[in-house]
């Protein structure tokens, strides 16, 4: 199972956290692939161009993903009623998992096709990581104007551990 990327959107449609994991190339040892995945966090500089995506696409991807899940969620609510939840969709290349909290924070994860439903995993991330490290942090801003986002070392580290150890 491979996790490609993970996004958090707040209730103002702002992407407050994004993280991409690049699968390890087959011929490279794990030691040399570590810095590549770490570098991809800082996706504002010129680094992503090195990894096959320009900075424009990483920023735009978040917006496109938000638009997609927002439209699909509204479609699902219209057809299935207010208590219906959009869970996931898949194409022939990837799978997108979606979880929305009662406070309208949206968690989105893109994985490969072999992965099972990630709804419980996203709930775990929300309950055990986001609430514990971001919400309960008195220094963390409640709103994220101007795309400040979740800038929290503990959260990022534990998310990294959760995805690499628990999910793969």
């Amino acid at each position: 199972m491979v996790v490609y990327s993970f996004y958090i959107f707040d209730r103002h449609a702002e992407c407050i956290y994004k993280r991409r994991w690049l699968p390890r190339p087959v011929s490279i040892t794990s030691k040399s692939s570590r810095p590549t995945s770490d570098l991809s966090i800082q996706n504002n500089g010129g680094a992503p161009a090195v990894f096959g995506q320009s900075a424009r696409t990483t920023d735009d991807d978040a917006k496109l993903i938000f638009g997609t899940v927002f439209s699909l969620r509204n479609m699902v609510r219209k057809l299935g009623g207010e208590d219906d939840n959009f869970v996931s969709y898949r194409t022939n290349q990837y799978k997108l998992h979606y979880f929305e909290t009662p406070t309208n924070i949206k968690f989105v994860m893109l994985t490969d096709l072999k992965s099972p439903s990630m709804r419980p995993a996203l709930e775990q991330i929300y309950i055990n990581l986001y609430v514990e490290y971001v919400v309960k942090n008195p220094l963390s801003p409640v709103e994220h104007p101007g795309g400040v986002g979740v800038n929290n070392e503990l959260f990022e580290e534990s998310l990294e551990q959760f995805v690499t150890r628990v999910l793969t």
Binding site: I28, K78, Y94
Partner: protein
């Protein structure tokens, strides 16, 4: 929550495991050409809302294809050890070709726009997760209450089938619907392409086939 889900699923298996809620056909321009409900289970929308839904889905379908994750082609470049940095990659590409037999001189190769995968700093070198097939848009969508299967034909027409989430063999149903569409809509000499489907024979056969299945 999971316990109640299980009990409802058991009940669902007894009476509506094969429930097809509704079918929507969207033409290649995103217009709604056919909408029919077979089982109640989803909310009824107004005709206008169905038109909006068809257009929205058409757009979302295209976006889901474009946000397919792109994986850098680090492992398949000519020199696998240099994938971590673009400048080192171009440097180390020049050094072996200078020492060994220079079949293609690196300056010309790097200027050659027809060969992007070989020498550009991997900004265009990526592959989809499953490189053997072209990326498709949304195919299955799952919610708590229904499952949406989308089948896109070669010509861009989309068939949207709303079913029970526990229904199996949806592709068989989809194939049959496409077959009926080809037989009774496309072969109807009075049918105008891209226009709403008003073919009585299609309605009749579709209804009777789905009823016969259940």
């Amino acid at each position: 929550m999971y316990v109640s889900n299980c009990s409802t699923s058991l009940r669902a298996q007894t009476n509506k495991t094969r429930a097809v809620y509704s079918l929507i056909i969207i033409n290649k321009a995103g217009g709604l050409v056919y909408q029919r409900e077979f089982h109640s289970g989803l909310h009824k929308l107004s005709t206008n809302d169905y038109l909006v839904l068809a257009g929205t889905f058409h757009g979302v379908h295209a976006i889901t294809r474009s946000i397919t994750p792109r994986l850098p082609l680090a492992s398949t470049t000519t020199n696998p050890t240099t994938a971590s940095h673009s400048t080192t990659a171009s440097l180390s590409l020049t050094s072996p070709s200078g020492t060994t037999t220079p079949t293609a001189s690196t300056p010309t190769a790097s200027n050659n726009p027809n060969n992007p995968a070989a020498n550009t700093p991997s900004s265009s070198a990526y592959s989809y997760p499953i490189p053997s097939v072209p990326a498709s848009g949304l195919e299955f969508l799952e919610t708590d209450k229904f499952r949406l299967t989308c089948f896109q034909t070669q010509t861009g027409t989309k068939f949207l089938l709303f079913t029970d989430p526990f229904m199996a063999n949806i592709d068989v149903v989809m194939k049959k619907i496409y077959e009926l569409y080809a037989d009774f809509v496309m072969k109807n000499p009075f049918y105008q392409l891209e226009m709403p489907v008003r073919c009585e024979a299609f309605d009749r056969h579709l209804g009777s086939w789905l009823r016969g299945r259940i």
